[in-house]
Symmetry: C2
Subunit: 359 residues, 2 copies
């Protein structure tokens, strides 16, 4: 499918904010990508347009029945060049999410080309400070005005861009997590492995509870037994256990993170043994107690790598590595961000150069 | 809270459709109710306005993280008078759903008053044909333009109205259901008991699968064991077993239906023993085989009561009551619709007279 991409430029441009210290996802650039889907025309109306409110029907299906999926990636400014990290993986996952939610797939190559054009236009918005990036948010939602419960027949795709500092403020400050054993995020047979909007709404009460108890993030357990480790907030989780890297296996209810996948590759390259397995929370507790688990960290686009310093398991607070960043965590962080900022060699071809590959 | 309700009438009115045979939720009336919430002002801007598209931000949280809940009830035309059935229960459930999804509650009394005014204005839209009604759809969704994952700080509430024929076309035609044992709708600790938009998006793939296999509806099993009966599509389920009425107990993952609750009351009044318990799907299969289960039906606002004629359990099709409407099902249907149409005495005070109680 080769679609025409219409470009309409904004009449006036916004003032760019001081990125350091702005909350994640609160500023948006001057333009966005927009594309429509109808059963008759398929995806059409691909356009770059001014970032602005748009009209939606009071009966739009996304609002009533929640048919919405999204993606998240970052564009980095490397000495004035704009680069993306494995964007093809994001569009592949978008299509898997769309399929799971009975929504029409998009042409990933075309979407990446459109994003490339958008980023070229918004080039000046990609911040170059340490840890800063332009967050890229593709979203697809049902906009048919119809209240019957069945997959919608019309959809809109948008890509909006938001300059961000590090997600958790000061980068690589150890975070505290609360192991949630009452609320459940997802269960096998459900929609946990899709980047489905509703999964995030469904997580808010537990997130609030953790915050109220004084923890920053929720660690989710599996929905069946409420015993096996799944993921943390919007990150996958890793443990350093007897010098090996251990992470929950993809089981259908965990989001298959691209950071997770990349770290597994990098860790192997660095000579670590990597184990993907079902991890019982009691074994985590035992491992922290007996010293076999020496580091814990979360991994996701927003925070890249986020060391866990405090973990509350079954009501007991455990300090991990003296609430300091561990050696393996730091090494993996340096390696991944080194590639993302073109300071280290990109052996796998993960770096996508926006401003030089496409004219 | 006594809020002012601003009323702006539509300039031109739509032509009213022939209601018989129109698809559920495809036509909307001339006006809707709208109200805004902000952290500073609470709920404000309560207004009846022309039904029309409205502006939303490309970064509205409802679209990205799915914070949306809704309700559904019906306004009936009884000899020119408009009545609602237990609308207070719907607004109570709306508030429980809002709370579960970390959203601000609404004043149920005020919402009912606003709905009353809206229905008075749209009086002519309430159809009076057999089984017809004006479907009432309150919805609350997050509209803050912000991509951080936390409860939104601004919301919109709408009430839209849609004239409907019977949900399943010909009323009281037995339906066929497929017992789903791979996909899961909800799990304890999750959001199944909230009327949360995302629950419906999450059900679409299984619904499609059932349709592809030739069944009309999905019967969901519990998320933990995938063995206990939960509900059917957007209905609760009942069995007639040894002359008693049996239905799954409310367990946190089932939607607490108002039709379910009403039928339990009516059945007891009619002298039936009613059992709310955990029901194993194998026991249902056994009961159908040995003749102890004689009737099965779904119960919900859209279809009121919907007899189940065919049930596929573990790959085997079972015919229930010769694919005919059973005696108890018919009796409960007659009783409930009799009250809803003011043909039978309303002992419990369930009927709310829109056009006579409020001037
Ligand atoms: C629930 C959840 N888990 C894990 C991740 C990590 O995925 P990725 O590394 O692709 O950003 C995300 C997304 O950020 C997420 O939302
Ligand atoms: C999932 C689900 N179960 C059951 C019901 C029945 O609830 P009520 O009788 O209140 O309409 C509904 C709503 O119609 C529903 O959406």
């Amino acid at each position: 499918m080769t679609q025409h991409l219409q470009i309409t430029k904004a009449q006036t441009l916004k003032e760019k904010p001081e990125v350091a210290g702005i909350p994640f996802g609160s500023y948006f650039t001057d333009h966005m990508f927009s594309m429509d889907y109808s059963a008759e025309l398929g995806w059409h109306n691909a356009a770059i347009v001014p970032y602005a409110p748009f009209e939606i029907s009071p009966s739009a299906q996304a609002l009533h029945y929640g048919q919405t999926v999204f993606e998240g990636m970052k564009a980095y400014n490397v000495n004035g060049e704009v680069i993306l990290f494995r964007p093809d993986e994001n569009f592949k996952r978008l299509n898997r999410s769309l399929e799971r939610m009975s929504m029409p797939k998009v042409d990933g190559d075309f979407a990446l080309r459109a994003l490339t054009e958008l980023l070229k236009l918004e080039h000046d918005w990609v911040p170059d400070g340490e840890g800063q990036a332009l967050y890229v948010r593709p979203i697809v939602f049902a906009n048919e005005a119809y209240l019957g419960i069945r997959p919608a027949k019309s959809y809109k795709m948008l890509i909006v861009l938001s300059p961000v500092a590090g997600y958790y403020g000061a980068q690589l400050n150890p975070t505290s997590i609360f192991v949630e054993d009452t609320y459940v995020r997802a269960v096998r047979g459900g929609v946990g492995e899709a980047k489905f909007a509703g999964n995030y709404a469904a997580s808010l009460t537990a997130q609030q509870k953790a915050n109220d108890l004084g923890y920053e993030q929720v660690l989710w357990l599996d929905g069946v037994h409420q015993e096996y480790v799944e993921e943390v907030g919007s990150m996958n989780i890793f443990f350093v256990r007897n010098g090996e890297l251990v992470t929950p296996e993809l089981n259908g209810s965990i989001l298959p993170g691209i950071t997770r996948k990349s770290l597994i590759t990098l860790a192997k390259e660095l000579g670590y043994n990597v184990v993907e397995e079902r991890i019982h929370i009691d074994d985590v507790e035992k491992g922290i107690k007996d010293g076999s688990i020496t580091e814990v960290f979360g991994a996701g686009t927003a925070a890249v790598v986020s060391p866990v310093g405090i973990m509350n398991i079954h009501g007991t607070d455990y300090r991990i590595n003296g609430n300091e960043i561990g050696e393996v965590t730091q090494k993996l962080y340096d390696q991944l961000t080194g590639i993302q900022t073109c300071k280290l060699e990109d052996k796998q071809g993960w770096v996508y150069q926006v401003t030089s590959t496409v004219k």
